[in-house]
């Protein structure tokens, strides 16, 4: 380690976010550039631990101490090698990952953790800028053909790994362009689409073929906005017959809905039905979104990342007001006793979007939506709840008597998470087993109950983080490779169902 006392010399530092008024006027990413020296100092804060908990906290097993040190030593080309050793797409995780690594950083026990994610970002952006990110085509084709269904981070990671293993990889995507949630869930201000495109170019150069607007199986009615208009539908069984192996990476797309009176009113939308058109507009594939917050009072139900994505989008669409409702109580600012290091810290965080405005309301639930008499939502009636622990220890939410309130709103966005995979379509066609959490079941080699058909990502894990998705894609690719070739040298960072420490 270059500077063994770096953590005592320097404090945690991040580049400033651009001023709110400025960034609300565009859709560009919110961070200012970080000077090289600042990044190196942050790298010097890494303690090169005997047990790097960050490296465990990262589902990918990113070699964090190694590249922190390389950044400190100003050896960026070596740093990006270490970064790519475990992570196909550091530019995605460097922007989008909530950074469980930082939650488990040893320095975080009694100080601010190392800015791991920012350093990751700096390394990969430097690499792109220097032209160090080049295609790594396979030297020997195996002649095997693999279909990857879904082009979110799991599918893309798997596709890249399999292509490098020499297989002919075809990625099937029902939307207009590849990327899945990366492209249509994540707003531009968190990740500009060019970031995806340059990586897709690399995959293409490595021989990955993308077929967009192709839906493998009929989409579920609840996700009718997902396929591109006029998408062709391919029977999954036929697909399996055509390829030597199929890897399903279709995500956990089934949204959780809110069954309360008034749900049918106009102006109440699932988050994805709001975010995707907004992204299509940004991409120029749509002139204006059918659902806009402009000039409206908005309520977002759900306090998670998707809620925050909606929030930032709402701000940029110039809403009159926006409130975000969360059923859970407000988390503490520091770890609670039952939430020890190095588990994921359940603490109050302020996302960039929240910094831009809006009000968060905790411990509330929605009782009904009130209409304006013309079939449009006018207001939301909610009440406060308290958490009680039932017999099984599971938390239940009990309304607080007399706490009812009403919020006027013309647009309601439901960002309440997902309920697993779509049960129809490919799952039904192939006769895949689905577990009791609504995910496609996989054995320890990522295989479904159908020979040659593998699954990875949220489709088997359930909704999760991008970093898990990439880890799943990489790991499943190794299994597919072994299935096809009898052995593999591909890395497999995780096993199916593996969880973070808790």
């Amino acid at each position: 380690m270059g500077d063994i006392k770096g953590f005592l010399k320097y404090g945690r530092d991040l580049p400033p976010r651009r001023p709110v008024p400025v960034r609300l006027r565009d859709w560009k990413e919110v961070y200012e550039p970080f000077p090289v020296e600042a990044a190196r100092q942050q790298g010097a804060r890494c303690m090169d631990c005997g047990i790097p908990f960050c490296h465990e906290g990262c589902p990918l097993g990113n070699l964090i101490p190694e590249w922190n040190d390389l950044v400190y030593r100003d050896d960026w080309s070596e740093a990006v090698e270490r970064l790519h050793a475990t992570n196909n797409f550091p530019e995605f995780t460097g922007r989008l990952c909530p950074a469980p690594c930082e939650g488990s950083c040893v320095l975080g026990i009694n100080d601010d953790p190392v800015t791991i994610e920012r350093i990751e970002y700096e390394i990969i952006e430097r690499a792109w800028a220097e032209g160090w990110v080049e295609p790594v085509p396979a030297s020997v084709p195996t002649g095997k053909r693999v279909a990857v269904v879904g082009s979110g981070p799991a599918g893309l990671a798997a596709a890249q790994q399999l292509a490098r293993a020499g297989h002919q990889v075809v990625v099937l995507e029902r939307a207009e362009k590849p990327g899945g949630l990366l492209r249509y869930g994540i707003p531009e201000f968190k990740m500009e689409k060019a970031v995806i495109d340059r990586r897709l170019d690399q995959l293409t150069a490595e021989g990955v073929e993308f077929r967009c607007g192709v839906s493998v199986g009929e989409p579920d009615v609840l996700v009718r906005g997902a396929p591109a208009p006029g998408a062709t539908v391919v029977n999954a069984r036929a697909l399996a017959g055509e390829f030597d192996s199929v890897l399903l990476a279709g995500g956990a797309t089934l949204p959780r809905d809110l069954a309360v009176p008034g749900r049918e009113l106009a102006g109440i939308h699932l988050a994805m039905d709001y975010l995707k058109p907004s992204n299509l507009v940004r991409e120029g594939l749509l002139d204006r979104s059918p659902v806009s917050a402009e000039g409206k009072h908005v309520v977002i139900i759900g306090g998670g990342d998707t809620g925050a994505d909606c929030l930032g989008t709402v701000h940029r669409q110039r809403a009159l007001s926006v409130r975000q409702l969360e059923i859970m109580p407000e988390p503490p600012t520091d770890r609670a006793g039952d939430n020890p290091w190095p588990t994921w810290p359940l603490i109050l965080r302020t996302s960039a979007a929240l910094e831009e405005g809006g009000e968060r309301i905790f411990s509330v639930t929605t009782a009904e939506f009130l209409g304006d008499g013309e079939g449009r939502v006018r207001a939301l009636r909610g009440e406060e709840v308290e958490v009680v622990h039932g017999d099984g220890g599971r938390p239940e939410f009990r309304p607080v008597a007399g706490s009812e309130f009403e919020l006027p709103c013309e647009l309601v966005l439901l960002a309440m998470g997902f309920l697993g995979t779509e049960r129809g379509g490919a799952v039904a066609e192939l006769g895949l087993e689905v577990d009791d959490r609504g995910n496609v079941a996989a054995d320890q080699s990522w295989s479904t109950n159908v020979d040659g058909v593998f699954v990875c990502g949220d489709m088997t894990r359930g909704q999760s983080l991008i970093v898990w998705a990439i880890a799943e894609g990489r790991s499943a690719a190794a299994s597919v490779d072994r299935y096809l070739m009898g052995r593999t040298a591909l890395a497999a960072p995780i096993t199916p169902g593996q969880l973070a420490l808790r």
Partner: protein
């Protein structure tokens, strides 16, 4: 005849060690008398305490005497005629007790004698008196028959000395008899001398052999020896003396020496010994080190060299780095080094051929040898002074043997021959320097040759082929190339050993380094560099018995590791005809990778055959290379390649005709280099390490160093590393380390060991060639990938051996287990604790540990309800925390552990850093911060009388798991004011713990230290802490015989201290092996009942504890786990002072981050105890006591089916020796420490008024050398009442007359004056704690005191306060680690003031070499009128300065006190002319200390905080 008991389980008699007391007595004129024999026997009895007895008091370990053949006596007692004196040979044969068999042996001997040109004159039944013999000795006793033989008529006698010529005939007869006749052993068979010896105590010898008390048995010289063996397995032949010598010490390089001797036999010829080849093998397999040494010495002597010449060949002094040595003498040694490697190890060898008698000391001077000469020509030399009563006025000279020096009495010439004279004469015999000039070539003088630089891609592919990891580049190779030193790590190792690892490992990983503990000392290769040497020679050897100019036709290698250019020089040595006479052959070591083990075996045979034909074709140098691998051909592991060839050539007896060089891709760590050397390579070229370094520089990964410098740095780090590995085993020269096989294998199959690593210990079987080939194949596949892009961005594997990585080796402490353990103990959740222990035990079962392979036989006994199991409190009392010093860890962490253990009724351990007396009394809330276990380590920091008195247990740390065989260092920046206070040192000044205890060089020494500590606190138990390695059980048995109350067996993996990574990973073995061996050996020796066995090393769960108990432990230590509970997250930076959780740091900011609480630690131990109870209940046991030693409750039958581990055989671990009914498997008896026999009882009562009321008392009495540790019990009584303050000076005034035993005045506190009129032995004033000691010759002595020796070695070791005045000279290592005493002495031996950190020393006479090595504090004032000090002091740590005016005043006072106390003539002379005398004093000033003094002065002047200024200065 088998020398010792049978092999069983993990016990093997070849692990046995011995040591002893030795003495020689001679009449200068060679006048033979019976008086002299009696004096020798009396000397033997005075050395009885250096020998030992086993479980029976009357079965000794061995005693014996060697005298001149008493011709007149034999002529009188035999019933046949004897030829004149010297014309026949005689000796006692040890034959079978079965009369028929003995008769057969006798007639066989007659026949052999005839074949060798001798006739049997007759036999005499040796009279014996075995009445007092113990049953063990008696049972093993042979029958004794004295044989008389003479040359048959017509047998030619070579040379002009008939006795010597007859001895040569008798030699071949004796060798043949021992080889060809069952049960036949001759202690001696000679025309000149005869040995009487046996498995006897010193007192029994004369009684057993009535001859010895017969007035007619006369001799002009005698050697006697009293043996202390670590075992009590009965063996009569192992007693000393042998045919030519008695030995006190141990040969560490024995395995190599034996192999080399065997290989040399083919080239050994001598006209003097006809039929020499019939005497082969010279070295008897299974003999002891002393026996082998004697056998080779005998060959060299009978082959034509005077005995003392032969001795100097085998034990040369340290000539390599001796710059001022006479060139002729240097040439003598250098020439002989090309004939034979040294037999290295601590040794005091007394030898005689019947005419000359003498002794020599090894280069380190690690054994004591004192001599004195009387005015009537009696010469006595012995391990101790005072072994014969001689009136003081008759003594004309008292001296000591010095390191590397020889003492020789020539009774024919009637004089003592001076060391210089002996060596000058020998050096002048031949023009050695000319021979060397003509024959030897320095490597650097060979013409240069060059090799090509490889490309990056090929480097990477090679790195994959040999399994290089990123971690190795980052943590090992990079730092070595950058700084030239070996990298350091902390917190031990918790990864799987090689045979249990899921991953392909290098063959090197299956071997662990042996290290010295107790029976011999490790060395300090840094501070005592002058005795070490990296030099070795490469090339053929010649006839050992006929040295000529040609014998040294060799290439001299300055370093064992050579770069690519040097390799090229050797490979193409005579390419252009420039170096005729040398021929090098390169041979590829590759095997067909598809063919697996069979192909590997075939390839090795092929290599052997090719080497054989190369030798036949005249090769002098063989280069074994793994460079040229291909897609089909993979490299044979270099170690296998070298050792397979080496052993093959030893067997073929062609080994000494070539030098082996290895061009190795897999060698990169120090451990690898050491192994290659240890198994026979002369030079190693780790080419891939060099290519890696070049590549790292080219790619910018390694910066700030040129490729050339980086390679040099790497070679330096690797070579110094080898020295360090050697020095752990006490081996000083690379030449004798080569082939010494100082390693143990763990997890290799017998097929591998027996064929390729013969003689290496490997006890639990393991993998064979198939697996080894498979491991190579796995790496080979990565190098020759069919689809390379699969490993995009992954040039090398990540690693994870030193720091945890997901893709790396399993670590028992990993994110999950650390987290669960902390969470469970902090939130008091037993359910989470079970998750933690389950995780650890599961990992363990996934082959991380040997214990993981063992299943507990639940159900073998009916389970018992848990309520019936003993309470947790009973279990908790058996728990202790590990030794971690205040200094290595913070006060907060240290006291947290102490408070927790005191609350629980367990024990915490001070570690070696002393303890603040503030902690000896309870706090207001009732908590006690005192550590129950007080450690006594080699540094002796803060080991005062008060410290020892405030202990329940006193633990002698021989070794620690993290780095057995090594010392430690606390850098100056960690020595804060608080630490300096408890360690009695100076803030900001670095501290060194030496590798050895300077009062334990041998097994009898530890008996002495145990006795000292027991005397310093009779209420405390004394522990000896050992680290598991092969033979640890035998050492433990020795320790039990040395009266230790407890023995602790530490696993290799434990250890929290900072250590070179090589030691962390590659020294020592798992505790399961060490503990089981200990239990088996103690039981087999009937010693288990008197000693408590403790175990520690990565103890983490209740299951670990139970397995420990079943294997034989009754107490358990935990170190890492309680630290983790206290907040440690295995940062492994303890050595950097940057611990981010405030544990291993002294930095205030970081200490503030400490989050541990005693409650967490309590919870941890309570949970462990609870889990132990659960397991006991399941096993059907009601207490831990019931579990101890129940190895039958462990089942290893279903050991997991794993590609590597399936070859393991754990059965030897589970062997339980057959025991008599009711024999205890744990400790039930207390040791008899013999304190009631201490001389202190003669004056304790008279001192009572002084102790109780401070009334002054004076006592005067006689003393002898058997009175050891005098004054220490008195000191205990004083400190017990008065604490560290003691009594007013001089309250108790004791005067002794005579020769005092060892440890005179040890730990004596303030208020006691001890005055000795006479002389004394080693360890005077050990740990002196404020007392005053005066030694001067008796008033009627006639010699000049300042020219004679008044006291022995290692005086004032670890003293913290007090005053000493010594009138006369003293031995080696005066004031070693003194930290506060003030001493005046009139001359010191080598290594004076070593590691001193405080106090003042005045030397009024000569000093030896290496003065002030490692001295970081205090001052010395040396009277140096001839300016000699500048040539002999160690410059690394101190400067010489003129005397300051302030010190001049102090010094004058001190010398005046010396004069007053001792009547010193020197002092009187100096004071008489003080003005000019004082000009001739030199001040020895440590640089560190000077810097601190200056910083202090400056701070005072500037009005700043002194402490801050000092600490700033120490950060440099």
């Amino acid at each position: 005849m088998a020398p010792s008991g049978p092999r069983s389980g993990l016990y093997d008699p070849r692990f046995e060690h011995d040591a002893c007391g030795v003495a020689l007595v001679a009449d200068l004129e060679g006048r033979a008398t019976h008086t002299l024999v009696r004096q020798a026997l009396s000397a033997l009895e005075h050395l009885a305490h250096r020998g030992a007895t086993g479980s029976e008091e009357d079965s000794g370990d061995g005693a014996g005497i060697l005298i001149q053949v008493p011709h007149d006596f034999y002529a009188a007692v035999v019933d046949f005629d004897l030829p004149p004196r010297g014309h026949y040979a005689t000796g006692v044969a040890f034959l079978s007790r079965d009369a028929d068999e003995a008769g057969l042996a006798r007639s066989a001997l007659g026949k052999l004698a005839g074949e060798e040109g001798l006739v049997v004159l007759g036999w005499r039944d040796m009279p014996i008196g075995d009445a007092s013999l113990g049953s063990i000795s008696e049972a093993a006793m042979p029958s004794m028959h004295q044989l008389f033989v003479a040359p048959a008529p017509g047998t030619p006698l070579a040379g002009d000395d008939p006795a010597l010529a007859i001895d040569r005939l008798a030699f071949v007869l004796r060798k043949r008899a021992e080889h060809e006749i069952d049960e036949c052993y001759f202690p001696s068979l000679s025309a000149r001398t005869i040995t009487y010896k046996g498995m006897l105590t010193s007192h029994q010898l004369a009684e057993f052999f009535p001859d010895l008390t017969d007035d007619r048995v006369i001799s002009g010289l005698a050697l006697v020896h009293s043996r202390f063996s670590t075992n009590t397995f009965p063996s009569w032949p192992l007693a000393h003396p042998y045919r030519y010598l008695a030995h006190n010490g141990e040969i560490n390089t024995l395995a190599g020496n034996r192999n080399w001797m065997r290989a040399r036999e083919a080239l050994c010829e001598s006209e003097l010994i006809p039929g020499l080849d019939r005497a082969f093998p010279i070295v008897t397999p299974g003999g002891s080190d002393s026996a082998s040494f004697d056998e080779v010495l005998e060959l060299l002597h009978l082959g034509g060299r005077p005995l003392h010449h032969a001795v100097l060949m085998m034990i040369p002094e340290a000539w390599e780095n001796h710059r001022t040595m006479d060139p002729a003498r240097r040439a003598f040694y250098r020439f002989h080094a090309s004939l034979m490697e040294p037999w290295d190890g601590p040794a005091a060898v007394a030898f005689t051929d019947g005419t000359v008698i003498g002794a020599v000391l090894d280069r380190n001077g690690l054994r004591p040898a004192r001599y004195w000469v009387t005015d009537d020509g009696l010469v006595v030399l012995a391990s101790e002074v005072g072994v014969i009563d001689v009136p003081p006025d008759k003594v004309v000279r008292k001296g000591r043997l010095q390191p590397g020096r020889m003492f020789l009495v020539d009774t024919a010439a009637g004089r003592i021959v001076d060391d210089d004279e002996i060596k000058e004469a020998l050096a002048a015999e031949h023009p050695y320097a000319e021979w060397l000039d003509a024959g030897q070539t320095d490597l650097e003088d060979l013409p240069p040759r060059y090799m090509l630089t490889p490309q990056h891609a090929s480097v990477v592919s090679h790195q994959r082929l040999f399994g290089y990891t990123n971690e190795e580049l980052r943590l090992l190779i990079g730092p070595m190339a950058q700084s030239g030193t070996e990298p350091i790590g902390s917190m031990g190792t918790d990864t799987a050993i090689a045979v249990l690892s899921e991953r392909p490992r290098l063959l090197y990983d299956y071997f662990t380094q042996l290290f010295a503990q107790v029976t011999n000392p490790p060395l300090d290769a840094i501070r005592e560099e002058l005795v070490t040497s990296l030099l070795s020679t490469l090339g053929p050897e010649a006839n050992l018995l006929d040295p000529t100019a040609d014998s040294c036709r060799q290439i001299v290698l300055p370093m064992p590791v050579i770069d690519n250019d040097d390799l090229a020089k050797l490979l193409y040595v005579n390419e252009d005809g420039s170096t005729p006479g040398f021929r090098a052959f390169a041979i590829d070591g590759l095997f067909e990778v598809e063919g697996g083990g069979a192909a590997l075996r075939a390839a090795i045979e092929d290599v052997r055959a090719r080497v054989g034909s190369a030798i036949a074709d005249g090769a002098d140098v063989i280069v074994l290379s793994d460079r040229n691998s291909t897609e089909e051909w993979a490299p044979i592991p270099s170690l296998l390649l070298v050792s397979a060839v080496h052993h093959h050539l030893v067997r073929e007896k062609t080994r000494t005709r070539v030098g082996l060089v290895v061009e190795s891709g897999d060698a990169r760590e120090v451990h690898h280099m050491a192994l290659l050397k240890g198994f026979g390579a002369a030079a190693i070229n780790p080419y891939l390490a060099f290519e890696t370094i070049d590549d790292m520089i080219a790619s910018g990964t390694l910066t700030g160093v040129t490729p050339r410098q980086a390679q040099r740095n790497y070679i330096k780090a690797a070579s110094k590393g080898i020295i360090k590995v050697m020095s752990k085993m006490g081996i000083s020269t690379v030449a004798s380390y080569t082939g010494a096989q100082a390693f143990e294998a763990v997890g290799l199959a017998p097929e591998v060991i027996d064929e390729y690593f013969a003689g290496t210990v490997s006890r639990i079987a393991g993998v064979g060639l198939d697996v080894l080939a498979g491991e190579v194949a796995a790496r080979h596949r990565r190098a020759y990938l069919d689809r390379p892009a699969e490993l995009a961005h992954r040039e090398r594997e990540i690693g994870g051996e030193y720091q945890w990585r997901r893709e790396g080796e399993i670590h028992l402490f990993n994110p999950k287990t650390v987290f669960k353990l902390q969470h469970a103990t902090r939130s008091k959740r037993y359910d989470i604790f079970k998750e933690y222990t389950t995780a650890v035990d599961d990992q363990s079962a996934q082959l991380a540990t040997l214990r993981g392979l063992m299943q507990l036989r639940v159900g073998a006994l009916p389970a018992v309800p848990i309520e019936e199991v003993e309470p947790a409190s009973a279990i908790l009392a058996r728990f202790s925390t590990g030794a971690m010093s205040f200094g290595s860890i913070s006060a907060e962490a240290h006291e947290t552990l102490a408070i927790a253990m005191n609350r629980l009724g367990g024990r915490s351990n001070t570690g070696e850093g002393g303890e603040d007396p503030d902690r000896f009394t309870p706090d207001a809330n009732g908590d006690l911060r005192r550590s129950a276990i007080k450690q006594v380590a080699s540094g002796r920091f803060g080991v005062t009388s008060e410290y020892l008195v405030n202990a329940d247990d006193l633990q002698i740390k021989i070794a620690q798991g993290a780095k057995p065989g090594e010392g430690g260092q606390l850098p100056g920046f960690k020595v804060t004011a608080g630490i300096a206070k408890t360690r009695y040192s100076t803030p900001g000044v670095g501290l060194i713990s030496p590798p050895p205890h300077h009062d334990i060089y041998s097994i009898e020494d530890i008996a002495q230290l145990i006795h000292d500590l027991k005397s310093a606190n009779p209420a405390a138990r004394v522990h000896v802490k050992l680290v598991a390695e092969v033979g640890v059980g035998t050492v433990a048995a020795g320790v039990a015989k040395a009266h230790s109350d407890v023995v602790l067996i530490s696993g290799h993996d434990g250890g929290t201290g900072a250590t070179p990574l090589t030691s962390q990973k590659h020294a020592g073995i798992p505790w399961e092996l060490g503990l089981a061996e200990t239990q088996q050996t103690l039981l087999a020796n009937d010693l288990r009942d008197r000693i408590v066995v403790q175990v520690d090393g990565q103890m983490k769960t209740g299951r670990d504890v139970v397995v420990g108990a079943l294997l034989g432990a009754e107490e358990f230590g935990f170190a890492t786990a309680p630290l983790v509970v206290s907040g440690c997250i295995m940062m492994r930076v303890c050595h950097l002072d940057t611990c981010p959780v405030g544990i291993a740091t002294q930095d205030e900011t970081l200490r503030a981050r400490f989050s541990g609480k005693p409650e967490f630690v309590e919870t941890f131990f309570e949970y462990i105890a609870e889990e132990v109870r659960e397991i006991l209940a399941a096993l059907g046991l009601r207490s831990l006591e019931e579990a101890i030693g129940r190895a039958d409750l462990i089942d290893s039958a279903d050991a997991v089916d794993h590609w590597k581990a399936k070859g393991l055989d754990l059965a030897p671990i589970l062997v339980q020796p057959e025991l008599p009914e009711g024999a205890a498997r744990y400790c039930i008896n207390a040791q008899d420490h013999g304190l009631d026999r201490a001389l202190d009882h003669a004056f304790l009562e008279r001192c009572r008024p002084a102790i109780e009321y401070g009334t002054p008392v004076e006592v005067e009495l006689a003393i002898t050398n058997v009175d050891r540790t005098v004054g220490t019990l008195l000191g205990y009584e004083i400190t017990r009442r008065h604490g560290g303050v003691g009594l007013p000076d001089g309250t108790i005034d004791l005067t002794f007359h005579g020769s005092a035993g060892q440890s005179f005045g040890a730990f004596v506190p303030k208020g006691v004056t001890m005055r000795l009129l006479g002389d004394t032995n080693d360890y005077l004033g050990k740990g002196l704690s404020g007392g005053r000691i005066i030694v001067r010759p008796p008033l009627d002595s006639t010699f000049a005191a300042e020219e004679n020796i008044v006291a022995g070695n290692v005086i004032l070791y670890g003293a913290t306060a007090g005053e000493v005045f010594l009138r006369g000279q003293v031995g080696e290592r005066f004031c070693v680690r003194n930290s506060g005493a003030v001493a005046v002495v009139e001359g010191v031996g080598d290594h004076g003031c070593e590691y001193m950190t405080g106090g003042r020393v005045v030397v009024l006479g000569p000093t030896g070499r290496n003065f002030a090595a490692g001295m970081s504090g205090g001052m010395a004032f040396v009277y140096d009128p001839y300016g000699r000090l500048a040539g002999v002091y160690n410059r690394e740590y101190v400067d010489l300065e003129p005397l300051s005016s302030e010190n001049r005043v102090w010094l004058k006072d001190r010398i005046a006190m010396h004069l007053e106390a001792t009547g010193s003539a020197v002092a009187a002379r100096l004071l008489a002319d003080w003005i000019s005398a004082s000009e001739q004093f030199v001040t020895v000033m440590p640089q560190d200390y000077r810097r601190v003094l200056e910083a202090t002065e400056l701070a005072v002047a500037e009005g700043r905080s002194v402490e801050e200024a000092v600490m700033e200065a120490s950060h440099g």
